[in-house]
Symmetry: C2
Subunit: 288 residues, 2 copies
């Protein structure tokens, strides 16, 4: 940031007196309300679900982080997790380990496979575009209708049932809000196709964990790849560990990069100082 | 083919008398030399290593199959197998199964990873281009220098050592010829980086199997994904089965599609009847 904005004075909030213009935060620090001249709050997370929005100063614009490296990293993870099911690698991993048998089956083409994405924001939209370029049929569910080339847009409660019924592989990339908490629940799973797969790269609290185990036991879902959990690190002894239908990854789907993130933060600092609308500004009433 | 070339007369070679213009073959059928007016031999394989080239009629042009679906299928397999190592899914699969522990490590960016490809022909060139588009550093080794955008071209025996030393993940997509049989051997592996990965989607006879096990035991290679084998199906009890460093897939990396293949065969039939050079015509002296 100093390289990008040489005139910037960076201070730790505890030594800031009562005069700062812009706050870069992860969680809400105590006493943030004392900075009467605050012009912007920049979250250092891609989401703002780690913030208690009610405790933030009113009328100060808030923005989420955007980071092109983080987006690229998420695209790669989703392409990998989708292709792994699409090409039956989860099955071949098991057969390899168990000593066979050789089980030849003609691979399906990507154009014969439907992938659904919950959330078509910064990350969901980018992942959807990547899967379209790989030739998959892609559907996306979002609060308001979104135009992503080649993606079937679903909205509202009917749209949620529709995408559940269509998708052979379903990716969750929704923001976490009171409306989306536990959206991946028994009711939702019971609308999904028999033998389909779930990839959760949103937040752990999107998923009702017991309901996932129910859906796997019923055969509704054939497997799940989970990168986020209600408690992280996922505790030893948790039923997800050792369940051969579940692949656990340690919250590595998307990692930021200081260089690309700093470009974006610097631009939002410039915008705040000029009194302009921020990039990725949060609508606090929606919660994202 | 009948839909594409309505005037075509298709006959089984055993009932063909002695007058056929074009032979579509997989292996060399007995008595092929009796067709004195043969104008082209079209292999139904992407390679011609299943043919004993010495037994083919001389001076009749021979072509390999090209099939866009097959190429797309191979691209997806290689992207998947590369990303799986790049993003440590082979490790997370094991940790998931064994009940943890959670092992967080910041993922590497694709631009920090070098992938090497042996063979830059129809398939190798397409895979190289795809991995460049995914942001990887890509090097390719071929008999003659090839220009693939973003790919470092290596040739000759020095080039082979160079690509072995550079690649963290190495894909074999060479044609099988007397010169490339057993090219993946102890001497080659001893030039590879410690902890690197092999993906063999060429032919089983490219790989000296005992030498691979040696390289894994030495820690020279950290793992291998193998889709082709000297004997297929891979026999029960083969040491590759049950070796947790090896992922066995049942020769499914690339599958042809009758529709796209027929377009290509029809075009080569038209060319043969007009006396033109065939697409993918084989140089019999090179063997591919």
């Amino acid at each position: 940031l100093k390289r990008r904005l040489p005139d910037l004075r960076l201070v730790d909030i505890d030594n800031a007196g009562d005069a700062i213009d812009i706050a870069l935060i992860w969680k809400v620090p105590p006493g943030l309300e004392r900075f009467g001249n605050l012009r912007a709050i920049l979250s250092l997370g891609a989401g703002v679900d780690q913030l208690d929005l009610d405790t933030l100063p009113k009328n100060v614009p808030l923005a989420r982080l955007k980071d092109d490296s983080l987006t690229a990293c998420m695209i790669d993870y989703c392409r990998l997790a989708v292709l792994r099911y699409h090409r039956d690698f989860h099955l071949y991993e098991r057969l390899s380990r168990e000593g066979g048998p050789w089980r030849y089956e003609l691979p399906k083409r990507t154009s014969e496979r439907c992938v659904g994405i919950l959330g078509l924001g910064e990350l969901g939209g980018a992942v959807a575009g990547d899967l379209v370029s790989a030739g998959f049929q892609v559907a996306g569910w979002s609060r308001s209708r979104k135009e992503v080339a080649g993606v079937r847009s679903c909205i509202g409660p009917e749209g949620l049932e529709e995408i559940a019924a269509m998708s052979e592989i379903l990716i969750n990339l929704l923001p976490l809000t009171p409306q989306t908490e536990n959206i991946l629940n028994r009711q939702f799973f019971s609308k999904m196709r028999v033998g389909s797969y779930l990839i959760n790269v949103g937040r752990g609290r999107h998923l009702a964990e017991d309901d996932l185990l129910w859906a796997l036991d019923e055969g509704r879902l054939a497997g799940a790849t989970l990168d986020v959990f209600r408690t992280e690190p996922l505790p030893a002894g948790h039923p997800f560990w050792g369940d051969r239908r579940i692949l656990v990854t340690p919250h590595i789907a998307a990692a930021g990069n200081p260089e690309t993130a700093a470009d974006y933060v610097a631009e939002n600092i410039r915008r705040a100082l000029r009194g302009e609308r921020l990039l990725n500004q949060v609508d606090v009433s929606r919660g994202y």
